[in-house]
Symmetry: C2
Subunit: 375 residues, 2 copies
Amino acid sequence: MDDFNQAEFEARLERAQTAMRKDNIDALFFSTEAEVRYFTGFRTLFWQSPTRPWYLILPQKGDPITIIPGIGAELMGKTWVQDIRTWSSPHPSDDGVSLLCQALKSYARVGMPMGEEGSLRMPLLDFEKVRASCVVEFVDCTPIVKSLRMIKSSAEVDIIRQICEIGSIAFLRADDLFHCGQPLDEVFRTFKIALLQAGAEDVPYLVGAAGNGGYGDVISPPTNQPLMDGDVLMLDTGATLQGYFCDFDRNFAIGQVQDAAKFTYEKLWRATEVGLSHARAGMSCSALFQAMHNALGGGNSDVGRYGHGLGMQLTEWPSICTHDETVLEPGMVMTLEPSMVISEGKMMVHEENILITEDAPLLLTKRAASELPVL
Amino acid sequence: MDDFNQAEFEARLERAQTAMRKDNIDALFFSTEAEVRYFTGFRTLFWQSPTRPWYLILPQKGDPITIIPGIGAELMGKTWVQDIRTWSSPHPSDDGVSLLCQALKSYARVGMPMGEEGSLRMPLLDFEKVRASCVVEFVDCTPIVKSLRMIKSSAEVDIIRQICEIGSIAFLRADDLFHCGQPLDEVFRTFKIALLQAGAEDVPYLVGAAGNGGYGDVISPPTNQPLMDGDVLMLDTGATLQGYFCDFDRNFAIGQVQDAAKFTYEKLWRATEVGLSHARAGMSCSALFQAMHNALGGGNSDVGRYGHGLGMQLTEWPSICTHDETVLEPGMVMTLEPSMVISEGKMMVHEENILITEDAPLLLTKRAASELPVL
């Protein structure tokens, strides 16, 4: 497990411990994939099995403690973590709960993610058992996790830059890959293979749509409907490398371009330019949203935001929306993702990935063409 | 969204409602992907974004209620669900909570998954808000969900059978795909492409390992270590079709077979034969475990079980382990997955997928060779 060197993990832990001291928190407790991986380097697709819980405790002083099923001991042993406590899981009557209580009982105030974008990846009954049997106050540590994970290290940025390049290279083959008459599910399958061939490790996320002069929604799996003359095809990919995502889309007109699609595309492209000229350290997400929203002429869609953070997860904090007052900082990796309704049931989206700096952002994706490409 | 016809969803709801009446539960409440999809047909990879919560309520009488972000309204509109309540998400101050409370407040006793294999895919603070503001008793409904989802309909079995065939076809190409000197990460990438080419929709899960005469753990991502003469290569794939998984592995010796690997393979193969001869309606999971365990001569590994349910998730209830007294029923789709330690840090696993019937189980995968194949 050499995604990062040990100094990277020590720095992450140190930042967490500094925040814990400031907030008077004795330890942080995690049950979710991204957080366990972020602090330990433990990377496996095995989280897709809901059977077994995995726990991590970061004390305010000292080293991380992992409490994990025996099946993960060997892999965890390859990370920088020394304190690995295991049990034979699945175990219906005590699936790690007593080990967890034993580890938590020495703390008074324990932070865990309870807020926005959070979830609890363990049985609620087990969590309530822990809460009942340990004299521990659980408090929300979302702001701590958010403040750490939002700012990417240069090692993280390097990986994200690589996967964005891989995605861009795959999209450059669009002319060869996609054609009129091709069923949409074949388009998806072909593009997944192209992403893997270009060097992606995985393609956990590929959504998209095609429709005459625009498309209706942007989160659907594909049907076998063939691409038709006058369609706009959109593919939005979250391919990964070493567990880090790119997340951007591209639009293509099939055969011919209709005026409304052409103009909408150009509006979205220009709104992205506005985003690129505004997105830098010191700008708030809400102000960035407003600048892009003005560029679109106030059009609206159901997406609810014009971009978001990006990294170990397809979407991360912050959100580029009216509600989010997060101030951009160097090291944030973001998507710019304006969307616009053309007419009832017809919309378009446009997306790039960027690195926030003190000056103009660094484009991680190869910028989309300024005019809707025709295949 | 035509993965299943409407009668399939009506039957699922009716079975849930019958169970609710029996347990005196007024409604079921879900926040997790598999359950929302199981009852609505709403299938999207968009769940990978942790940003937005998605809620489903099944009343004891009447139709399903979905409370979802606006971005999902169009796709949910293509399912059989009529009652679709939306808000513009993400919304930091009220991310669906008031809509949820409004819908839940008319019930006294609400079931939600709180037990084994469960998780809460919503911010804990939001759940606590709901619990505080609705006068609702939340009770565990894991047994209900488990009893429903464990028994696959013939339409579900058809899809799983197809993806198992696709996986089997891809593995048949092993001789062409894998070779001595090939880095393991290239082996993985090549096999993902082969699965897609064979007709898989996605390959959300591929783990594996290679090592001299056996491998150390079975949940790791690949390194770039090349395959070497005398290695045993194991690939374990969870490819999907219409959101349903296969989950099985194959072992290959590279160049030559070492005796210990050869004998361990044959032991695992025979233990699987024992599993195949015992796995049928009426047999308990624990008795099936014991039969396979005896066939292995009591050898042990860290996996903790010899198989599990399979379907919309890579692993589902029940578990073939000493603790699980679930009695097998026709319609259960299971893996048989014995594993064995060869020596310190060296193990092997073997896995097939089957459909439980009144008689001998139906093999869904093409049975692995009885001797370790050499590439």
